[in-house]
Amino acid sequence: MTWLRALMLALCLVVTPALAVNPDEILPDVALEQRAREISAGLRCLVCQNQSIDDSDADLARELRILVRERLLAGDSDEAVRQFLVDRYGEYVLLNPRLNEHTVLLWIAAPVLLLAGLGGLAFAARRRRPPAGELSAEEQAALDELDRSLPR
């Protein structure tokens, strides 16, 4: 189904035939640029299909990339930059959803599923285990009886 996404990307391309990070956007400070890239990779290009602004070629992505770098140059922390964008565009801009009352189910889904699976397995194993352990007095008596009756 990749060609469907390719289709979407093509539509993105039509809007603006520019491509991802441009040389004129790159910050001279290597460490700061690295932080900018990492932040960008976690921000959604709002007009594209499921692309981060770091990968996208749309005008909006370019504006956001420049904005991220401006905030970093102004001395913001990574979290402050993200918060700045969330204040402007909403939680939708974060590709990695933050834990809050709306996303708690999302974040606990995988562990809960795993635990439920383990629980189900334990339950099935208990139910299916053959009757083991001590023989009841009755069974022991029957076995003794059988033992005695056998020729030695």
């Binding site: 189904m1 390719a6 995988a110």
Partner: protein, 657 residues
């Protein structure tokens, strides 16, 4: 004329499929007699849909622009291969491809299923015909590919340029063969539930189909991933996009199904779970094909943006999937369980495999649908993107990869885990050594890289250790070892090879994620740039016309660290009919690594050039190819070829108390 012929053939196939489904469900108890009729019906459906499909291809090849579909998706100047692949580069045509593969699988069951018990065969073919009728009906009534247009235009609107690629010719047919192949497992599950009869012979029948579908799906996903990698222009190969997730979920579920059917075939255990997985795998395949098109998931993705069409698709999915699960809830408790085993055993390991794979499917499903549900229920929009999936999926796969090499070394029923660990000591030690060595040499750019390397090597070496163990290499004379290895059943070889392939893919993912380097710069012809020891010189720039596009192309010379030089070409195309641009990156492969070079747009009076060095990136897809090879190898195993299901059924009936 041929268009009408194709249209008529499709209508006829719809009618035959409907009658087959009704007749099959009505008279399955009569066994062999109705099964024989249904077999012929299945083959007839295949022939008719093949005629319809051929008519459509003919219209595209001859650029018959009285066909609406050809007008919208073709162009007379397009190269032949893209005229053909353009048939399924749209909603209507891809529906017909989907149906074509569905009836092809049905006909295969009809042709090769003569040895199945009559009632089971009748039920399988009835279910298969029901699916054909449902989706052919959907195509005919809402997405007819044979609609004409009058007056016919002189020229078509051309296919989207990104789709004019060999990827479109290969990726959808492979992917669909995988998706649709699981319909056979689904039909077998439905047949088992209706007849209430399920035994080891059933698993033996289902497993080859699951294996075949899984192999196609593996190839289809790998092909799609590589296509995205080279076509989209920045070398991304997996994006956790809803559409990708939709194809990955059936793959994970199908992988689980392969392993659980193995337990059922060998040990007559996990019956209900295997039936459940058969249903869920095909349901996820349907979801993969259709939910993304219904307009509900991400409206921008859809071919079929028409809301009524989306509604019909959703109702169809609800009926097929809901009906199957209703039947499951009704009948599954009646299926008898068998085959006792201790927790530490081959069965136990395979259950653990199923637990992690099923949880991964669930986690991806939740992640894919969550934004949609949250929006509908709470009115809040959030994004669930790659960082979330990488974390969740990675955390679930790590334990699976840790236990994986143990599985094949454990005995059925009850196993000695310490003995298995002893046999894996060498593999483990080597994996630890290499992971540390490579991390020390390459530097640790992301903290999880050494762990990822360790897991990849562990799985790959574990697979080799299994073969060494089975061949008793080093413990008996080499010639005897070789003889033992050659004499191993192909299924044993394919297990080891498939696991080796998985290890390679993991290594490729880790290496390229951790040690990829990138350079974004501006160059003019005559200038050079350097990245990771590779010197790229920009030789020339020019405008060249292609068959149906204009191309801005840059010629480059790459000097590798070893001094060898290669000429290469990267271009940006503008397609004549649509005016759409695409970029074609220059990709040069050095060993398992690649240098990926992209010509960006002109910036003032120079060109933006992006270069990536992607170490060991090809292992990602080579690993998938190795896995698919293992799938095909396993299909040639004598036990699957001979099959002898009736005999096996009798034996099973006698053995089971």
């Amino acid at each position: 004329m041929s268009i009408e012929l194709g249209h008529f053939a499709l209508i006829l196939a719809f009618a035959i499929a409907s009658v087959s489904a009704l007749g099959g469900y009505g008279f399955w108890r009569t066994g062999q007699r109705v099964a024989l009729v249904l077999s012929q019906g299945a083959i007839l459906q295949f022939v008719l849909v093949a005629v319809a499909f051929a008519a459509l291809i003919q219209a595209f090849v001859t650029s018959d622009f009285s066909l609406l579909l050809a007008v919208n998706n073709s162009h007379s100047l397009k190269p032949l291969i893209f005229k053909i692949s353009g048939v399924w580069g749209n909603h209507e045509g891809s529906m017909l491809l989907w149906i074509f593969i569905l009836v092809a699988f049905g006909a295969m069951v009809g042709a090769f299923g003569r040895r199945l018990p009559g009632d089971l065969l009748a039920l399988v073919l009835a279910t298969q015909s029901l699916l054909t009728a449902a989706f052919t009906g959907f195509t005919l009534f809402t997405s007819n590919p044979f609609a004409r247009v009058f007056p016919a235009p002189l020229e078509g609107n051309d296919l989207n340029p990104v789709l004019q690629d060999i990827g479109l010719a290969l990726h959808p047919p492979l992917l669909y063969a995988g998706y649709v192949g699981f319909s056979i497992c689904f039909s077998f599950a439905i047949a088992a539930l209706i007849s209430g009869r399920i035994d080891q012979a059933w698993a033996r029948w289902v497993r080859p189909w699951a294996l075949l579908s899984w192999t196609f799906l593996t190839l289809g996903i790998a092909m799609g991933s590589y296509w995205a990698y080279y076509e989209l222009g920045w070398g991304g190969w997996w994006f956790w996009d809803p559409v990708e997730n939709a194809s990955f979920m059936p793959w994970l579920a199908g992988t689980a199904l392969l392993h659980s059917a193995l337990v059922m075939e060998k040990r007559n255990a996990l019956k209900i779970w295997t039936v459940f997985l058969s249903i869920i795998t095909f349901s996820l395949s349907l979801l993969g094909t259709f939910l993304v098109r219904s307009g509900i998931l991400t409206s921008v993705h859809t071919f079929a943006s028409d809301p009524t069409r989306g509604l019909v698709i959703l109702s169809l999915l609800a009926v097929v999937i809901g009906g199957a699960f209703f039947l499951f809830a009704l009948r599954a408790p009646a299926l008898r369980q068998g085959g006792l085993f201790a927790p530490v055993s081959r069965e136990g390991a395979l259950i653990l495999n199923n637990l992690f794979l099923a949880t991964a499917v669930g986690a991806i499903l939740v992640g894919t649908l969550y934004p949609l549900l949250l929006d509908a229920l709470a009115g809040t929009t959030i994004s669930v993107g790659a960082p979330f999936f990488n974390l969740t999926f990675g955390a679930l796969m790590a334990p699976l990869l840790i236990v994986l090499p143990f599985g094949p070394l454990l005995a059925w029923k009850r196993a000695d885990v310490l003995a298995a660990a002893q046999r894996l000591m060498g593999a483990g030690a080597l994996a630890v050594f290499l992971a540390i060595l490579i991390s020390a040499l390459g530097g640790v750019s992301i903290s999880l890289a050494p762990l990822g390397l360790l897991l990849g090597f562990w799985v790959a070496f574990g697979a080799i250790a299994e073969l060494i163990e089975r061949g008793k290499v080093g413990r008996i004379p080499l010639a005897d070892s070789l003889r033992r290895l050659v004499g191993l059943p192909r299924s044993a070889w394919s297990t080891a090879i498939a696991h080796l392939g998985l290890g390679l893919t993991v290594l490729g993912i880790v290496a390229t994620s951790a040690w990829e380097t990138e350079l974004v710069t501006t160059l003019n012809p005559g200038e050079t740039a350097e990245l990771s020891g590779y010197v790229v010189s920009f030789d020339s720039f020019g405008q060249v016309p292609g068959p149906n596009y204009m191309s801005d192309e840059g010629r480059f010379t790459i000097t590798a660290p070893d001094g060898s030089t290669r000429q290469t070409l990267a271009d940006r195309r503008t397609y004549v009919a649509s005016g759409m641009p695409t970029t074609e990156a220059a990709i040069e492969t050095y060993g398992f690594s690649q240098l990926y070079l992209q010509l960006g747009e002109p910036l003032e009076d120079t060109h933006v050039i992006r270069i990536w060095h992607k170490p060991y990136v090809t292992l990602i897809w080579l690993g998938a190819l190795v896995m698919a090879f293992a799938g095909f190898l396993s299909l040639t195993d004598r036990r699957l070829r001979v099959g002898a299901p009736r005999q096996a059924a009798r034996v099973a009936a006698r053995a089971a108390p």
